[in-house]
């Protein structure tokens, strides 16, 4: 066990996953990721690049990824905003890379070192057009390490940008980490073409796996990469059938991630009160579940590790028997909308929302869950109501 900060474990996980390029612009509270990568990459035969801003950073990452590197960047809200255009580009051009966003209080420059979970919707909707995000949310330093490795695996095997959403607490917290390096076979590498270069080669053709076998630049294939709608040759097209099919395939491909990342489920089997929370709030909620159980309440925790794409079916079945669903998050109400979309009409939803830079406490979760439970039993019959509690 090694004592590490979340941001240090993030860098260690990236290196373990084979990341050899970092392009970034340091910003609190993600700066230690850049600092660590600047130390680790040269020792591991990689390249660290500090760019002039976040747009250039992700541009460099995309270039390195096309050249065959496993590549990443790390930023926080303001920088994440600047990266949105390139994130869309990476999605449409199917470029594997990992983007770490350590969420701080926003909007704008907001609260640089205070915790928040305010970029959750941005991770999915920040870039324009019909694009489906993959976003992971770790809740411990160990999980930062593990999910960074998984983020690279997902991005490589599905050829798509993967976002890791940390909150400031997870990023700066120190905990023991087991830095076991997974065996090489379990770390995916992007699928490469088996056919030789030639005029008939089509880099963006895909088979049943839905993933095109795009070669790395510089190994003898001539091909074209674009953010315009393109055909299987990689060249721009305005053919609406081709564009529609491309969007459909990309969405179907990214949805494969839903079966690859399991949530943490704690005492959910007989839970009347289900608490849904992610990141550091998931830890708080877990402690609250213990307190509620000690008071004789059947409470359970469902902590998604994958926020996007939303695991609809998993959530629906996990929450089917709950009388009350409490969704706790450090924002003014973001992911709760997804939970509401999925279970509204079947159960009561009681969001516990706190924005402004401080953590949700165990006490707050406990008392909110207790009052939610009381109110729902008093109002038997009406099952589709939502009762918000906003703190601060």
């Amino acid at each position: 066990m090694k004592l590490m900060q979340g941001n240090e474990a993030c860098a260690a996980g990236a290196i373990a996953a084979g990341c050899r390029f970092f392009g970034g612009y340091p910003i609190s509270p993600s700066s230690e990721v850049a600092e660590e990568m600047a130390k680790l990459l040269p020792k591991n035969g990689g390249v660290f690049l500090q760019a002039e801003d976040e747009m250039a950073s992700l541009g460099a990452v995309i270039g390195a990824a096309l050249g065959g590197s496993k590549a990443m960047t790390a930023t926080s809200g303001p920088g994440f905003s600047l990266m949105q255009e390139h994130i869309g580009y990476g999605y449409l051009a199917e470029i594997p890379c990992v983007i770490v966003d350590v969420m701080r209080g926003g909007p704008s420059t907001g609260l640089p070192t205070a915790p928040s979970q305010g970029d959750v919707m941005q991770a999915q909707w920040g870039t324009h057009g019909d694009r489906v995000a993959i976003a992971l949310a770790p809740s411990s330093v160990q999980e930062v390490y593990d999910l960074m490795i998984q983020a690279f695996s997902l991005s490589e095997s599905l050829r798509t940008p993967v976002i890791v959403l940390m909150d400031e607490v997870v990023a700066h917290m120190r905990e023991g980490v087991d830095l076991t390096v997974p065996d090489k076979a379990s770390i995916a590498r992007r699928p490469l073409p088996t056919e030789p270069p030639g005029v008939s080669f089509e880099p963006y053709r895909s088979g049943d796996d839905l993933v095109p076998h795009v070669p790395d630049f510089g190994v003898g294939y001539r091909f074209h990469v674009t953010g315009l709608m393109h055909d299987e040759r990689g060249f721009p097209t305005s053919n609406t059938d081709v564009a529609a099919a491309l969007l459909a395939r990309l969405e179907k491909k990214v949805h494969l991630a839903k079966d690859l990342v399991a949530p943490e489920s704690y005492l959910m089997d007989d839970a009347d009160i289900a608490i849904v929370a992610y990141g550091i709030t998931g830890r708080t909620a877990k402690a609250a579940v213990d307190v509620l159980r000690s008071k004789g309440k059947k409470a359970g925790l469902l902590r998604p590790r994958l926020l996007w794409p939303v695991q609809d079916e998993m959530l629906k079945s996990a929450l089917a028997n709950a009388e009350v669903v409490v969704v706790a998050e450090m924002n003014r109400g973001q992911w709760v909308r997804e939970v509401e979309r999925i279970v509204a009409g079947d159960t009561w939803i009681y969001p516990l929302l706190k924005a402004g830079g401080s953590m949700i406490t165990t006490d707050e979760v406990v008392s909110h869950a207790l009052s939610a439970s009381d109110r729902s039993s008093a109002a038997d019959g009406a099952r589709s109501s939502r009762q918000d509690l906003r703190i601060g």
Binding site: T113, V169, H172, R174, G176, R293
Partner: protein, 227 residues
């Protein structure tokens, strides 16, 4: 299976620059090498560069679900500002152990500290007088707290302090750890602690001595990260 959420909650407070974060890091690291679980969260705002700041360390024999707590079991105070912000409202509680620097904290400079429930020790004076640098005060304090816990060995603390020290301070920090340990040793021989010491029960933590101190104390106010 429910998680065992017994743990000892230790809050280290002082002014930015006193090395609070490093002392907490060294304690956390040595806790790990003694087979304990540890979590450490701290303030990263402008307070960490001047105002009153804190680091919240939890140690336990079992995994720690929630790294934040409102009410500490042990609270180290190294400045007046930190006293006002973090310790003032804890005076007189027999379930919170206050340990304060006698010279830096006005409230700890009186003769009847014991009556007020404060363990007052001259950490900074010892650092200056016996090691030759007040910069090692943080390591003296870390060792004094570790001595109270009785679950972290002197050797592991010494090693952690050395690993985390710049080259020029390795020897001094090693000496500081030894000194802090001795100071608390002597204190325990000559005094009865004015509070129940949940920390000293850590050896029995598996039976849940400490409980979840974060769970029933909203009145302590604020959250773990911003008060």
């Amino acid at each position: 299976m429910t998680a065992d959420f017994s743990r000892v909650a230790i809050r280290l407070t002082g002014s930015g620059g006193q090395g609070i974060a490093l002392a907490a890091t060294v304690l956390a690291e040595s806790a790990l090498s003694n087979g304990l679980h540890a979590t450490l969260i701290q303030e990263h705002g402008p307070e960490a560069r001047g105002g009153a700041t804190r680091a919240d360390l939890s140690v336990s024999w079992s995994p720690i679900p929630n790294p934040q707590f409102q009410l500490p079991d042990l609270c180290l105070v190294l400045s007046d500002k930190a006293w006002d912000r973090f310790a003032k409202n804890l005076v007189g509680r027999d379930d919170v152990g206050l340990v304060a620097d006698r010279e830096r904290v006005t409230m700890a400079s009186t003769a009847d500290n014991q009556a007020g429930g404060i363990v007052a020790m001259s950490f900074e004076e010892a650092a200056k007088g016996r090691i030759g640098s007040k910069l090692v005060t943080n390591m003296i304090c870390a060792a004094a707290l570790a001595r109270l816990l009785e679950a972290i060995s002197l050797d592991s603390l010494s090693d952690a302090a050395e690993r985390r020290s710049p080259l020029a301070f390795r020897e001094k920090n090693r000496a500081a750890v030894k000194l802090g340990w001795q100071m608390m040793d002597e204190y325990l021989e000559t005094h009865t602690l004015p509070w129940r010491v949940p920390g000293r029960e850590i050896g029995k933590l598996a039976s849940g001595v400490s409980g979840d101190r974060g769970a029933n104390t909203l009145e302590a106010g604020g959250s773990a990260l911003t008060a």
